[in-house]
């Protein structure tokens, strides 16, 4: 059987909400035992894909098998073996942390005693034992997320869906969640992780699929995606921010590839298209420097390096991976 060693195998998934094609033919292949990164801006279709794979929504087209079972006809067999940690903390705010986990223990088929034992172990491991008797509504974002992940581990799942697990978190809590994901994956659970953060995918995921507007725009390892995005990035820092627009025009004329303005008003960068002969990169950069000199643009610093995943995203989708996208993702109506 084709799907044997695969955690997820999706072909041509389509989901339509009203006039919007939230998914427009998504193909996914996820091997067992890996952390799979699903990267895209707001509204790209990440949550919709997870909802279909976790049997919460039906696809309008295409097929998907999860752990070898069809998401439509064998949904219940999938539910017994996967866990979903949604984008927004999916817990009862007015119940305590302990009570929340006990509810899931009982619903996962554990006896009263087994639930109690497992929940106390999880609370201790997640450093939540001291807050176990407080309502979840009083928890900090990081604590809530840990409890949320704990609720998905009541029974160790074969496949864990993590939908934007660190969105809106401070760097320390984010680091903690990353460490949890690494441990979960190391123990043998396949993890499908969606994220808007390129760094997160870079840090955690062995395999990354980039989606945008409901379509797969690129897939591969982090290194492959960066390589596909071009031979390198030229970053220029100016003496005078007033000259940036002139520098932009000059660089756009001298080099093939999109010019991006940095957050720092003195910086700009160019993604270099891979030349046929790698040795040409130096000639292209030299040419660009000469043109800047001719235009009387004062350059403070020039570096040539691998593109960041952020720059790679821009090259792959034609627009930056900004979370400020206006089209709202996945209203589950």
């Amino acid at each position: 059987m084709a799907g044997e060693g695969l955690a997820i195998e999706a072909r041509g998934l389509v989901k339509v909400y009203g006039q919007t094609r939230a998914l427009d033919g998504i193909d996914l292949t996820v091997r067992r035992g890996q952390v799979f990164g699903f990267l895209g801006p707001n509204g790209a279709g990440k949550t919709t894909t997870i909802r279909i794979l976790a049997t919460l929504a039906r696809p309008d087209g295409g097929t998907a098998r999860v752990l070898g079972c069809d998401v439509v006809s064998e949904a219940d067999a999938i539910r017994a073996r996967v866990a979903v940690t949604g984008q927004f903390a999916s817990l009862d705010e007015d119940l305590t942390g302990y009570e929340n986990l006990i509810v899931f223990g009982r619903l996962r088929g554990l006896s009263r005693a087994a639930s109690k034992k497992r929940v106390n172990e999880l609370l201790a491991a997640f450093d939540l034992a001291g807050s176990a008797s407080r309502p979840v509504g009083t928890y900090s974002g990081g604590m809530r997320r840990r409890l949320d992940i704990g609720a998905s581990l009541i029974v160790t799942p074969d496949l864990l869906f993590l939908d934007e697990p660190t969105t809106g978190m401070d760097p320390r809590s984010r680091g903690q969640v990353w460490e949890l994901v690494r441990q979960i994956a190391a123990a043998g659970t396949t993890v499908l992780l969606t994220t808007q953060y390129l760094e997160e995918a870079d840090q955690l995921a062995g395999q990354i699929t980039v989606i945008d507007h409901g379509r797969v725009v690129a897939e591969g390892t982090s290194a492959q995606l960066k390589a596909r995005a071009g031979s390198g990035t030229l970053r220029v820092r100016l003496h005078d921010g007033e000259q940036r627009s002139r520098a932009r025009a000059v660089l756009a004329g001298a080099l093939e590839g999109p010019v991006q303005l940095g957050a720092d008003p003195l910086t700009l960068s160019v993604l270099l298209a891979a030349p046929a002969d790698p040795a040409d990169t130096g000639r292209l950069v030299g040419h660009a420097m000469t043109r800047l000199w001719q235009a009387r643009v004062a350059v403070a610093e020039v570096t040539l390096g691998q593109p960041s995943l952020h720059e790679a995203f821009l090259a792959l989708t034609g627009h930056p991976a900004s979370p400020a996208a206006t089209d709202h993702e996945d209203t589950n109506s």
């Binding site: 035992g33 890996q34 952390v35 909802r51 049997t55 919460l56 929504a57 039906r58 219940d76 067999a77 539910r79 017994a80 979903v84 949604g86 984008q87 927004f88 903390a89 999916s90 817990l91 009862d92 007015d94 119940l95 305590t96 009570e99 509810v103 899931f104 009982r106 619903l107 996962r108 088929g109 172990e121 999880l122 491991a125 997640f126 450093d127 309502p135 840990r146 609720a151 581990l153 029974v155 160790t156 074969d158 320390r172 680091g175 903690q176 990353w178 460490e179 949890l180 690494r182 441990q183 979960i184 994956a185 190391a186 123990a187 043998g188 659970t189 840090q203 062995g206 390892t221 589950n332």
Partner: protein
Amino acid sequence: MSTPTATTSRAVPEAHRIDGLLAPSGPPRRAGALAASATFGWRAMLKIKHEPKQLTDVIAIPVLITVVFTYIFGGAISGSPGHYLKILLPGTLSMSIALVTMYGGARLAQDVTTGVFDRFRSLSIWRGAFVLGGLLSDVGRYLFASTIVVVLGLIMGYRPDGGAPGVLAAVALVAAFGLSLSWLWAAVALLVRDPAVVISIANVALMPLSFASDVFVQARTMPGWLQSFVKVNPISHVADAARDLMNNTGGAGGPVAWSLIATAAITLVFAPLTLHLYSKQA
């Protein structure tokens, strides 16, 4: 190997060690339908424990209806509140429970919009457990509201001729009728997914059903067209049945039978509809 797992160098200082808890759990277990429903019932009770203001409706509605209507209408209709209570109290019991039922629907509509609802739906449990568990806790609320009505009645001077068995039978009948209405509001809740809309729809339906009944006055004082409505109104039958049981007037007569038929009919239509709506979501 590209999976970045053994990365001690990147470890966060206060990282949580959970690797001891991640052993494969063996073949998946499945919670039984009853255990899952009971768990959801327990969850609803916990919510009341943590947010006691959820009991506002089951306290305020029975108190207001029983006290206000006894003293406003009591003298006018029957000469004295004490005499009127025999007719009125079983009626306010029925009306109070009927009105309280809509809040269960509102809570369900609230619940299905939260993230935790999706998580429940992602579990391998009997599909009806979530709704049924909520309704089990609703029955608890109906019994609580019934107790308030009966105790208030006793304080105001009502003496049921049917005794404790009669009162208990009436409460059981009214609660069963309330449960049938719960299924109806649950179906509405799953359709509209908005607590305020559920309350509006339920009010529009329950107000005429409550007042155009013989809860407060006997049907023969009303115009003919209204009488025919009152006679088919299930709340009339339930109020009549509660009167018969509490005052020991009619035995297990017509109103009781009609109430049970109405209860069964509403349940048979809306319970399957609710379960269907629940499982076909999204």
